[in-house]
Symmetry: C2
Subunit: 331 residues, 2 copies
Amino acid sequence: MASIKDISKLTGLSLATVSRVFNNSPLVSEKTRQKVLKAAEKLDYQPNMMAAALRSGKSKIIGVIVPEINNHFFSGVINSIEKKLSDADYNIIISQSHESEELEKKALQSFMKLNVDGVLLSISKETTDFLLVQKLMNQKIPVVFFDRTPKLEVSSSVVLDDYKGAFMATSHLIDKGCKQIIHIAGDPKVSIFNKRKEGYIDALKQKNHDVSEDFILTLTHDQLRDMSVIKQLFQNNPKIDGIFAHGDEISLYVINILTTLGIQVPKQVKVIGFGNVDFTEHTYPRISTIDQKSHEMGLLAAEMLLKSLNDEEIIHSQQILSPELIIREST
Amino acid sequence: MASIKDISKLTGLSLATVSRVFNNSPLVSEKTRQKVLKAAEKLDYQPNMMAAALRSGKSKIIGVIVPEINNHFFSGVINSIEKKLSDADYNIIISQSHESEELEKKALQSFMKLNVDGVLLSISKETTDFLLVQKLMNQKIPVVFFDRTPKLEVSSSVVLDDYKGAFMATSHLIDKGCKQIIHIAGDPKVSIFNKRKEGYIDALKQKNHDVSEDFILTLTHDQLRDMSVIKQLFQNNPKIDGIFAHGDEISLYVINILTTLGIQVPKQVKVIGFGNVDFTEHTYPRISTIDQKSHEMGLLAAEMLLKSLNDEEIIHSQQILSPELIIREST
DNA sequence: TTGTAGGCGTTATCAT
DNA sequence: ATGATAACGCCTACAA
C-alpha cells in the first residue's frame, strides 16, 4: 500500500506538504496540490486511518449500540444515523447488546480500545450500571442515548413520547366507540413500556372509562402462544371490544388468535399496536399502530452527537419526539 | 488514557516486557506478569488498537457488507457472524449497500482505509464491477461472499441452494394436491431469484405438470399493491390452486389480497413463501415457507474467513447449504 | 527472562 | 508556501 512517503518521493515534495493536501489545508498552492493528487492517483494511494487516528487522537469512528438490529425500529434509526454520520465523514460501527448488560459492556470496551470519537447508545433491558458510560464521558467522548435511556442527570438523549403514543392509541379506540379496552403490556423492566401503560390508563381516565388491573395483561410473547389465556379472558368478559397492544408483533398475534376464535376484527374487537413495523401494512386486516419516528430519532441523535463533537464543550439536552397515529383497517 | 509507557514507569519494567504480557507471550515470568496486570488494573489501562494495528498491520477488524440490515435473513447471518468473530477477538463493522453499487464501493473504500483484516460481502442487486474486491484480494485481504455472490472464478463463497428450496416448495404444493401452481418471481437481476424460478419450473416438469410463462409473474411489491392484477389473474384462471412466492413478504401480501377477494387460504388456494421471516409464524393462517439457514450461513462464512486469516495461503472454496421446508397452515 | 531501539503512517510544531 | 522533525502507542528483532 502506497503511503504519503511514496508520494513525497515521487513528487519531490516533503511529507508535510503532501499531508497538507489531503487535509485540505489552504497553505498549499494549487499547482502542488494537483501534482500531489496526480501522484496519489497513479500510486493508488489510500490514506491510512489507523495512523491518522493514532497521531491525531481522532479515529473518525462512531460506535452505535442497539439491543437488536433485527428490529424494524432500530434498523430504521441506524439507517438515518448512518446517513447523517457518513455525510460528515464518520465511519460507524454497530454492535448489538441482545438485551444483555454483559454484551453491552463488551461492546463499550471494544469502542474504547478502538478510540471511537463518540457513542450512540440504546441501552439493554437489563442494564443498571453505567460506570463504563461515565468513564467514556469523563474522557470527553460524547455519548448520546436514544429510545432507551438511563436515569442519568447529565446526559444527552432523544426519546419518543411513549406516554403520548399510548394515549393517542387508546383515545383512538375510544373515539371509534370502544367501551371495554384492554391493554397488553410489555416487560415492566423497560421504562418505555411502563410509559405506554400510563398513557393507556390516563386516556381511559380522561374519558371517564373504568380502569381495571384485570384489563392490563403483562404477558410475554411466549405466554401468549398458549391462546387459552386470551380465550378465557374473552369468555369471562364478552364485552371487551378494544385492545391496545404494546407492540405490533403482539397485535398481529392477538388478531391471529381472535380470528381463530371466530372473533372478527375490527367488527367485534378493534386492535391497535405500537411501532408501525413493516408487516402491519401487509396483514389482513392491516393493523393500526403508532409510528415511532425512527428516522427522526436517528437524525436528531446523530446531529446532537455531531454538535458535541464539533463544539468545545458538551451541552446536555433531552429531546422528546412526538409519535404519530397510523389508522388502518384493524380499528 | 494510560499507555504501556505508564505501566512501564510504574513497574520499573521495560516497554517490551509490558507489551509481551498483553500479547500473552510465554517469554515472561509469572511474577512480572502479575505485577504488570496489577499495574494495568490500577491505571485502568486500555490497549490502543490503533497503535497496535499500525505497528502490526493487523487491525482485528472485519468488514461486513449486506444490502439491508433490516431484513430478517441478513440480520440472522450477521448475528452468527458477530458471534463467531467476536469469539475470535475480532471487531466487526457492518455496512449496508442499500442495493446501490456506489454505496457498496464507498463501504469497501472505508474498509481499505480502516485496514480491515478481512471482508464478508453479500453484493447488491446492481453490482457488476468487482475491481475493488479484486484489489482487496490482491492485497491478501481475504474476502468471503455469502448469499449474493458474483461470478468470479477465484473466490470463496457460501450460498443457499435456492434452486433446491424452490423445488422443495413447489413439490410440496404438488404433494398437497395443487394442480395449477403459479409463481411470483423476483427481480431477474438477482441470480438467486432466477434460481428459484428454475426450481419451480423443474419441479413442475418432473411431476408432469404444465409449465406456462403466463403462470410466472414478475411483479414488484409496489406493483402488487394494486390488487387488480391478482384479481384478473384469478378471474381468467379460476383453477389456480397454488402459489409459490419468491419471498415471505409477497406471500403475506398475496394471502391478504386473496382473503379480501373472498378466496380462502389454504382451502381454495395454498400459498408458500420463501425466507422463514419472523412474522410468518404470527399470521393467520401461519405461512409455510423455506428456511434459508441464515445462522449456518453466517457461521460458515465466518469460519471460512477465519481459516483464510490464520492460514498462510488462501484457499478458495464454494459451499452450498441446503434449505429446509417449513410446513405451516397456509398449505 | 528482560531490555534497547527502530519504525509503522500520519500530523503538528517549528523553522525557512 | 514548503520543509525538517518529533511524536502518537505499540510491536519486534536483536542484544544482553
